[in-house]
């Protein structure tokens, strides 16, 4: 690394770093510190702030609704991670095994990376709609009453499917790249030993690409917690009866529907700690750098 260091003018270095430092300090660090400060206030929009000490945290600790939202988010994120990675792994493996025409399939499955979550939410709301959804009548013919505007578990599943759908592309991008790096010789040895395809995927490939998988677990977890906000907002508004009220939606609602900025800040701080732990876990697990969409 040191051979790269050809410049030594510290003033220059400072000036060139300035934009990054200023923006980071002002829009990233300062608001975070301020969230901590604000969390000790009863603060609202256009109504003034009152210092309340730890009251917001006390309220959080005693709120079964919030606890439910925490558990729900963990469950939702877990389902997103497991769901999207299972699907993406099968799809990536399928494409990896194809000899001719890979490229076309690849584009056809990675495009949801570009899909805006808001679009994913609205499109799914439309096609899975309990009354006018295009597939509703067929699913109901199977004896399932499509009723997710009222039925919590169903709503959870519908939002989950939309969330998984949107995230497939991102996962396939990384998985196909990782599979492409598996040495040819390993594949050949496995084939000669008469190992079946599925066995080869699970016994040979998965261990080799596990660093990529760990990376994706973290990325998908963060996506599951935060990236699905638009879908929840547009499809269920956290309902029915709180069944999809994941933490990020709960936070938005507290801040911008109820205007309880202080209480919302306390919730932000909790989220911040959660993200921190997640990232720490990532560093420990893979000792690699993770990408977070910003």
């Amino acid at each position: 690394m040191s051979t790269h260091e050809v410049f030594t003018d510290r003033l220059q270095a400072g000036v060139l770093l300035l934009p990054t430092m200023v923006v980071s300090l002002l829009f990233l660090y300062y608001p975070t510190v301020r969230a901590i400060g604000l969390s000790f206030y009863q603060a609202s929009l256009a109504r003034g702030d009152v210092f309340v000490g730890l009251e917001n945290y006390r309220r959080l600790a005693g709120s079964t609704e919030y606890l439910r939202s925490v558990l729900l988010s963990v469950l939702f994120a877990t389902c997103v991670v497991v769901g999207v990675m299972a699907v993406a792994l099968c799809v990536s493996f399928l494409i990896h095994e194809i000899e001719v025409g890979k490229g076309l399939y690849l584009v056809a499955v990675i495009w949801p990376y570009a899909l805006p979550p808001a679009v994913a939410g609205l499109v799914f709301l439309f096609i899975a709609h309990p009354n006018i959804g295009i597939f509703t009548s067929y699913i109901e013919a199977l004896g399932i009453d499509v009723n997710w505007f009222s039925n919590g578990p169903q709503a959870f599943v519908v939002v989950l499917i939309a969330a998984v759908w949107k995230q497939i592309g991102y996962n396939v991008i990384f998985m196909t790249a990782a599979l492409g790096n598996v040495p040819e010789s390993l594949t050949e040895t496995a084939e000669l030993d008469g190992v079946s395809r599925t066995q080869r995927l699970l016994r040979v490939y998965v261990p080799i690409i596990s660093p990529t998988l760990v990376f994706l677990v973290i990325m998908n977890t963060i996506y599951g917690f935060f990236g699905t906000f638009a879908m929840v907002d547009l499809m269920t508004k956290g309902g029915p009866a709180g069944a999809t009220n994941i933490l990020i939606y709960d936070l938005y609602r507290t801040a911008f529907q109820f205007y309880e900025f202080g209480f919302a800040s306390a919730k932000s701080v909790v989220l911040f700690v959660a993200v921190g732990l997640l990232m720490y876990g990532q560093f420990r697990l893979s000792d690699r750098y993770a990408y977070y969409g910003g």
């Binding site: 901590i36 009723n147 919590g152 309902g239 109820f258």
Partner: protein, 453 residues
């Protein structure tokens, strides 16, 4: 602290901060202290033109634009309408605008959120903007009574409505029901729905958006206030009145309707979804605002059925009356005098009988000026268009009791979402009626207590 509004100015906040002596958080606390600049310097969003934030989509929005165009050409005052998607959208944006000091000149606030906006202490009573000889007395008293607080007209009523029952006459006929005698009670609604579904005419009997307004209507029609302290008109309420036959009958019925597939749930605050469900023939009855009458009439025509409407169903036959719905125009305080004069002209224009007639005909919101009503009567408008008459009759036939005054509370949005969320649990049978109602009661009590303490 509701009546005094956000009584914490910078000074008191600082002193609170000092006396709290929170040594532990001195560094960070200081950062939080300097916000919320309400009442500081107020400047309009657009210096050159009046900015009006509203929540009128579809044909109603077009009718509103027509009125504003007319206002501009008559007065030479520029006015720019900005659609904000929903009343909730206008509310959020308004509060943040009042907070930042860059404000629209006029904003349309749902009557549900009136107190929440008043609590900012950053709005000017419209009475101060109207010319002295403006005939405020000509407004219908059951309308202005809601918007007059402590004897002052705080905001300008404009688009007012109540909820009515729309029904598909063609579907009724097909099911062998008499389209000239629509259901009037919960029990009749249920049996009509059952017939419609049993006859295979529609998938469900009835639909309506899960919005607190409908719960408010069931209460007021039954002569019951939703909250104590006369729904917040006689002080700060502390609880929701759920220990009564109104609440129990309503939710038992609602659950039964949902359980038997007679109620089609369009979702929370899903006005458009509910109307779609009705117009596409999935449900033969719809409870929604009278403001939808114009759209629903043309939508029914497009979908090839005959539509009609009737009074909101009662719990058990006794009818007190509907609550008010719709919105009024609010104005921020602190704008310069010449600007206030322009805003005053705008409000007077929107409230005059000719505008109210155009507005009523274009939308279905009932006319709120006595003169406008009389003129419509004389022109034979109501005789020719009975669907436009229903809401108005429902209003004028109402008894004027505390029950028919809509709830007026600061934490309206919290109480609203609590009731709506809990309603889903109740009608879907996730909780039993008794248990659900007591949960609902204590959740509402928590919200009220937190805001008013």
């Amino acid at each position: 602290m509701v009546q005094s509004g956000g009584g914490y100015d910078h000074v008191s906040r600082r002193s609170v901060l000092k006396t709290s002596g929170a040594a532990l958080t001195v560094g960070t606390v200081g950062l939080a202290g300097c916000s919320s600049s309400s009442g500081a310097s107020v400047r309009p969003v657009d210096e050159d033109s009046l900015t009006i934030w509203h929540a009128m989509g579809g044909t109603n929005g077009e009718t509103l634009q027509g009125l504003v165009d007319q206002f501009q050409s008559e007065t030479d005052i520029d006015a720019n309408l900005v659609f904000q998607d929903s009343y909730e959208g206008v509310l959020t944006n308004t509060l943040s605008a009042l907070d930042s000091g860059e404000v629209p000149d006029v904003f349309q606030i749902d009557s549900l959120f009136a107190q929440q906006v008043l609590d900012t202490d950053a709005v000017e009573p419209v009475e101060n903007l109207l010319s002295d000889d403006y005939p405020v007395d000509d407004f219908l008293s059951n309308v202005t009574s809601f918007f007059t607080i402590d004897g002052t007209l705080t905001s300008m009523p404009f688009n007012n409505s109540n909820a009515i029952l729309y029904y598909n006459r063609s579907a009724f006929e097909e099911a062998g029901l008499d389209p000239d005698s629509p259901p009037t009670t919960l029990e009749e609604v249920r049996s009509y729905s059952q017939t419609l579904v049993d006859e295979g005419v529609t998938d469900a009997g009835l639909t309506w958006p899960n919005h607190v307004w409908f719960v408010e209507h069931f209460y007021s029609v039954d002569g019951q206030t939703l909250l104590d302290a006369e729904n917040g008109h006689a002080g700060q309420p502390t609880t929701m009145q759920t220990d009564n036959a109104t609440a129990r009958s309503l939710y038992e019925w609602w659950h039964e309707m949902a359980d038997n597939g007679l109620f089609s749930n369009p979702g929370i605050e899903a006005w458009g979804e509910a109307t779609s469900t009705f117009l596409t023939g999935q449900a033969a009855m719809l409870m929604t605002s009278t403001a939808s009458v114009t759209g629903i009439r043309s939508g029914a025509e497009e979908n090839g059925f005959e539509v009609d409407n009737a009074f909101y169903p009662t719990i058990d036959g006794d009818r007190t009356g509907p609550v008010i719905g719709g919105a009024s125009w609010f104005v921020p305080s602190g704008l310069p005098q010449d600007r206030q004069d322009d805003i005053g002209s705008f409000l007077e224009f929107m409230g005059r009988p000719e505008s109210q007639i155009t507005w009523h005909k274009g939308t279905g919101y009932y006319p709120i000026r006595q003169t406008a009503v009389e003129q419509l009567e004389n022109d034979g408008w109501f005789a020719e268009n009975p669907m436009y008459r229903t809401a108005f009759d429902q209003l004028t036939q109402a008894e004027n009791t505390p029950a028919t005054k809509r709830m007026l509370i600061g934490p309206a949005r919290q109480v609203q979402t609590t009731i709506q969320d809990m309603s889903v649990e109740l009608f879907s049978g996730e909780v039993g009626v008794d248990e659900g109602l007591s949960e609902l009661k204590s959740a509402v009590e928590d919200e009220l207590d937190r805001y008013y303490s």
